[in-house]
């Protein structure tokens, strides 16, 4: 079977690639495009390590077929910092040690950013339920939740 040609936008850049019809976006990002910031923890939509946004919506890139992103906009962890300027969430995660091994971190950050764009003033419960799709085995979530809440407060203060 010949490959499909897909034109899309990743982190604001136009991108073209060839893929099989049944390849996931995660597979293309990691193995075709070299964007290995999105991680594969399960490949079945259960861990959130592969989180990206698709036209602004948070999705598991392991569950989206690559041909489906034709003509659409996706953002990944690689698009979160602006140049050498970290996103406030990234900075806060460092300051508050919201990561240990760091393998869940790209997915958690992408998910948390999507939350704050929808809800700039989330409660602890909001954060916990929103991030319930992102498994972290190291931190017990405590410092992650605190970092997200504190970033939200900072960003509200700055706005």
């Amino acid at each position: 079977m010949s490959k499909l040609h897909v034109t899309t936008s990743i982190n604001g850049e136009p991108v073209e690639f060839l893929c099989e019809a049944d390849q996931s976006v995660l597979d293309v990002l990691r193995n075709t495009l070299g964007l290995t910031g999105s991680k594969e923890g399960c490949g079945t939509g259960d861990c959130g390590a592969c989180s990206i946004t698709l036209d602004g919506r948070l999705v598991c890139s392991c569950l989206v077929l690559a041909p489906e992103i034709e003509g659409r906009q996706i953002t990944t962890i690689e698009g979160m910092a602006q140049g050498d300027h970290l996103h406030p969430l990234q900075q806060k995660f460092l300051e508050m040690a919201a990561l240990q091994c760091g393998i869940c971190t790209p997915g958690v950050l992408v998910a948390a950013k999507a939350l704050l764009e929808r809800n700039p003033d989330p409660s602890e419960t909001d954060v916990r339920y929103w991030l319930a799709g992102n498994l972290c085995r190291c931190t017990g979530y405590d410092k992650i939740v605190r970092a997200v809440l504190e970033t939200a407060a900072d960003m509200r203060g700055a706005a």
Partner: protein, 750 residues
Amino acid sequence: MNAIDNKWIGRRTIRPDGADKVTGRAGYAADNSMPGMIWGKVLRSPHPHAMIRGINTARAEALPGVKAVVTAKDIVDFPLDKSVMLGIQDMRWMCRNVMAREKALFHGHPVAAVAATTEEIAAEACKLIEVEYEVLPHVIEIEDAIMADAPILHDFLRHEGKPSNIAATMVNKLGDVDAGFAEADIIIERSFKTRPVHQGYIEPHACTVSCTADGKATIWSSSQGQFMVRAMTSLLTGIPQSNIRAIPAEIGGGFGAKTIIYLEPLAVLLSKKSGRPVKMVMSREEVFRGTGPTSGSMSTVKIGAKKDGTIVAAQGTFYLQAGGLPGSPLRGPVGCSFAPYDIPNVLSVGYDVVSNRSKVAAYRAPGAPLGAYATECVMDELAEALKIDPLELRLKNTARPGTKAAYGVVFGSITFEDTVKAIRNHPHYSAPLDRAPAKGVVRGRGVASGFWFNAAGESSAQVNITEDGNVTVTTGHPDVGGSRASIANVTAELLGIEHKRISVLIGDTASIGFSNLTGGSRVTFASAMVVTQSTEKVIGQLKERAARIWKIDPEAVVWSDGAARPAGANAGQFPPLTLKDLAAKANEMGGPIGAGIQLTTVGADPGFATHVVGVEVDVELGIVRVLRYTAAQDVGRALHPDYVEGQIQGGVVQGIGWALAEEYLFDKQGRLDNASFLDYRMPVCSDVPMIEPVVLEIPNPKHPQGVRGAGEAPIVPPLAAISNAVHDALGKRFYSLPMSPPKVLAALDG
């Protein structure tokens, strides 16, 4: 907490590897690729127990795109009659674990591996391999495996002279338990069961390997020890260690399970045969079926006490699942269960039981949570029966410096008592408890304690001063949770410079001296020790250089605040020479500045923890929710408090999962039924509250900064603490884990 006036130690600095990890740039095991790379895949046994009569790989090898196939005959054999140890691992079992030899011992046991130009072709080729199996009856659970008529996994195993699935026995003994129990006014004896749980790291095992025609192998993989990867791969492939370079990728969680290897030797052999770099990545399903978990257990604990609460005797019997090959962590329950207490008569016995499951791997304080679960639940019943506060009962029997533990040591400067008092004095313990806040909801509170040995061992470090007067520190252990940050703090403190001027690296096996595993709660202890000694040597060199420049005696130079200074007025009047000044003059004044240390560290005193937890039980749904959790632990010295707290918080939440939800479930055919994160239910963010760590810092006198291991003790108490809290809420005791909704409902109905 601590009176020592430190500038960097104890500061919440930003970790040296942080920016890479929040931007997606850090390279984990599966993130590497190489030019010309091909993909390896593993064929796994569809049967839980079967003789392998023959393997025909011809059709697979003929498939276009297939470059190499390996089976057990390509792997170095370690005959069953002679044990060859690598650390605590017996290579007889390791060689049979990476690839089934005579027999497939569990569903998912590797039987062959293929490398091909694409993952799809490799998977296709696996299906073309013809394996002739002679299917045997299988056995999964401990209670079935120890029956007289159980299918026997290994003919060579004997227990009490007969063929058996009991592979080993471990006994710790102190005093005379029979005499002790005879003195007791009260004896409580209970039996408990736990299910196997997986370590659950989010990063599946993965590696990339390149073998060159001259027989050299480079391995890029994530593990808890690149030197273990090198040594084990060398033993299993026959390539000398000097020809293997193991490069540690960032590790996406291990919790003990990455102290052994699965894929690396297969990838080395595939790469050698094919002449191409080979990448292998496990799927999550393979991780569940083929790696870890930790043992399930069956235990009985009996404790006898006087009316006033003085414990006079304790006895424990612990059966642990080993999986298909021997080697469960008996030392955990046998050695740790009674260690917090000063008990004159102890008998603690463990049995290593094989059955047709994947071979267990270490999991955080291996085995200790199983033992503490039983002991600490019996302690709770004892306190209830004697009408003594459960923490007072612990204080009455606390082990102290000088207490002899049943596992053989006389304790040095231990601080168990302090952890109990920290919880007793914490507002959580005395907060009013609303026992029935709403219809169908009841609440309760529970406590438990725990013990872990902690470890020291071999470590190496190299500290170099760069030509521009900054610092690189290299150590030999993978950083699983922020150890680079602690090392940066220690080095900055000793040198008296900004921690940002120090870069901390993890060396590969060719670039740093031997360092043992990241495990046993040893890394911060051991690496801080070797980094301290290396840095002190560097400071000695710096003082010497200054002395030479000033033409005074090196003894007359001190190092403080980042500069060499004359020791006093008698030494002479010289402006200070900073690190930058001295680095700039390094060449003319004796050459490059740097020093390394390779050392077998000692002095890791054990760790103790005491926890209190508040739970809520929904009696309609059977759901137990943890509402509040407070965990006290003495860590000696928190070099970087965030990452110490993180160890405690993470360990507690793993314990919550173990207590309430996680378990391996098998079907009648002996296949794991829940090999996915959907069906194997680890705690998610909305399942848990904030976890409050109470970090005690009572310096360990045997360590330059006072460090005590921190990573493992936190997972020891939660199983019992939560069980005791559920009992407090419901008035019913559970004797098996997990306390999942169906079990809670059944207990409420019963």
